[in-house]
């Protein structure tokens, strides 16, 4: 039994969720290899080789993997899986993993199990359905299990302690099906949303993009990441990558502070596994209070500055 983990990276560094996928593979058992498919991604391959528990790093490097299109990455993965006889192929359930892995599964003619949060055995897993209001235990009968791993279900494997060999392999040829022509990526000093210890999220109640600066000040004090509800993103207060929820980012920080967020089921799906939840909302009937450990009913425009000042 050997698992191939598909590293999520930007050619310079590994994305945090890759480490959680390694832990999921450890629970499955057997050898763990990591595939780094990229362009000039040697540093990523070295980082992967250092992860505790990884036996081998497979490094496929080519210019046409530079934009990490699903078509090209999937083609490379499939070639390597077939050649290597892997029984399990895992990727973190990041935007990258979600884009690529179903293509891999279909090309291998196997099912995919999306967003596992528990490994029960090498063929049985637990995953959320209905926005996480139901947990399903499922078993795959396919000879190769293609799986995406919800990072919040597993601890991160240690980044050091491993000393795997790095094996260069050929990338599959360029499919020439897709070209990335532009990117608009958020630039922020704040920690990354899905791996931050503290997250402060704003909802419709924040009222404007300008008002989000209030949350930024608090976030700076707490070294927190900033998130948002769908309503805040739809209204244009923050870019789409801030969205926490069923179809956005899934987070489970030590502390989640929901500001001006009503608490629709779809939002809860993205944060209800946070260790501590604080809710600040002027509506005492807001559903968010039902899951908050500490709820403060009041005007966020008074509370947030007061909170920020109290932390000085």
């Amino acid at each position: 039994m050997t698992t191939l983990i598909i590293a999520d990276h930007n050619h310079a560094a590994l994305q945090a969720a890759t480490f959680n996928a390694v832990t999921a593979a450890q629970k499955i058992g057997g050898d763990i290899h990591v595939l780094v498919a990229g362009s000039n991604a040697q540093e990523v391959a070295k980082a992967a080789a250092g992860i505790a528990g990884v036996a081998k790093v497979v490094h496929a490097d080519a210019p046409h993997l530079g934009s990490l299109t699903a078509e090209n990455v999937a083609a490379t993965i499939v070639a390597i899986v077939r050649a290597g006889g892997y029984t399990h192929v895992l990727a973190p359930a990041t935007g990258f993993g979600k884009n690529v892995m179903p293509r891999v599964a279909a090309l291998l003619d196997v099912a995919q199990i999306s967003e596992i949060v528990v490994v029960e055995s090498d063929d049985t897993f637990v995953r959320p359905i209905y926005a996480g209001s139901v947990m399903a235990t499922v078993r795959s009968g396919d000879p190769i299990k293609v799986i995406t791993v919800r990072a919040t279900g597993f601890d991160a494997a240690a980044a050091t302690g491993g000393s795997a060999a790095i094996e260069p392999v050929a990338a599959a040829p360029d499919t020439a099906l897709s070209k990335v022509t532009g990117q608009e990526l958020s630039k922020s000093e704040r920690p990354e949303l899905t791996s931050a210890r503290i997250v402060i999220s704003g909802g419709r109640g924040v009222g404007s993009a300008e008002n989000f600066k209030l949350l930024e000040a608090l976030a700076a004090k707490l070294n927190a990441a900033l998130g948002a509800s769908r309503a805040a993103v739809d209204a244009g207060y923050v870019p789409n990558d801030y969205q926490v929820g069923q179809t956005g980012k899934i987070v489970a920080p030590d502390l989640y502070i929901a500001v001006g967020i009503s608490g629709a089921i779809q939002h809860l799906a993205g944060m209800k596994d946070s260790k501590v939840i604080v809710a600040i909302n002027k509506d005492p009937e807001a559903p968010i209070f039902q899951i908050a450990d500490y709820g403060l009913v009041g005007d966020l425009f008074q509370i947030i500055p007061e909170f920020t000042a109290a932390l000085s």
Binding site: Q15, T69, A70, E71, G95, K98, N99, M101, P102, R103, V104, A105, A106, V110, A111, Q112, S114, E115, I129, Y130, A131, G132, S133, V134, M135, T137, V138, R139, S140, G141, L177, S178, K179, V180, T181, G182, Q183, E184, L185, S186, I198, L222, R230, D234, P239, N240, D241, Q246, T247, L255, K272, I277, F289, I291, A292, D293, Y294, L296, V297, A310
Partner: protein, 249 residues
Amino acid sequence: MKVLVAVKRVVDYNVKVRVKADGSGVDTTNVKMSMNPFDEIAVEEAVRLKEKGIATEIVAVSCGLTACQETLRTALALGADRAILVETDVELQPLAVAKLLRAVAAKEQPKLVILGKQAIDDDANQTGQMLAALLGWPQGTFASKVDLAGDRATIKREVDGGLETIEIGLPAVVTADLRLNEPRYATLPNIMKAKKKPMETTSPAALGVDVTPRITTLKVVEPPRRKGGGRVADVAELVAKLRNEAKAI
């Protein structure tokens, strides 16, 4: 240009689902069913392409129980021209649906297939990508903007760090994300007109597709409910509790 839109009948997003007493599945008896919200966005995008004069015909397709006809009638009321029901009561999983849609696409020869990015019941987020792979077509997933020009499409996609723009050739598969558009409501006159629009029924056997499920659901449970409802009176109390009780800051 023909556009194929796939739609799924799911439990309405407002329903609080409950699991059956024996844990074998979710209880859907007498529960309100609707078109998957992301599929409404997919249909809307197709209709807008038709209104722009880019799409000439919109074919809506759904796979599953006979009741999926309701979902197809909704698609017709929103502006699709024709509907295809692939009827079966076998539990359909994404790989099987992708194979059914591939067979339908082989017959219909669309230039564009639009699906919702994920269904809010199984939350799998696989079918569009699988279909693209089986067809050997490019994919534009999590699309928040679709622009077509001749034989090419420019897609703006929502990615982890923000937005990415890709250029792909047609035919292609696009999966619709939340902000692609705001779907219209079906008007009563259009609902009436939809009853007369053509709907054909076929089956996995007729399409030559094996839809045997690959994944078995062993059990479903509702996760333990989080104990909430804690209140603090003011910021001072909040900070104190977070420091001393929760040790979170």
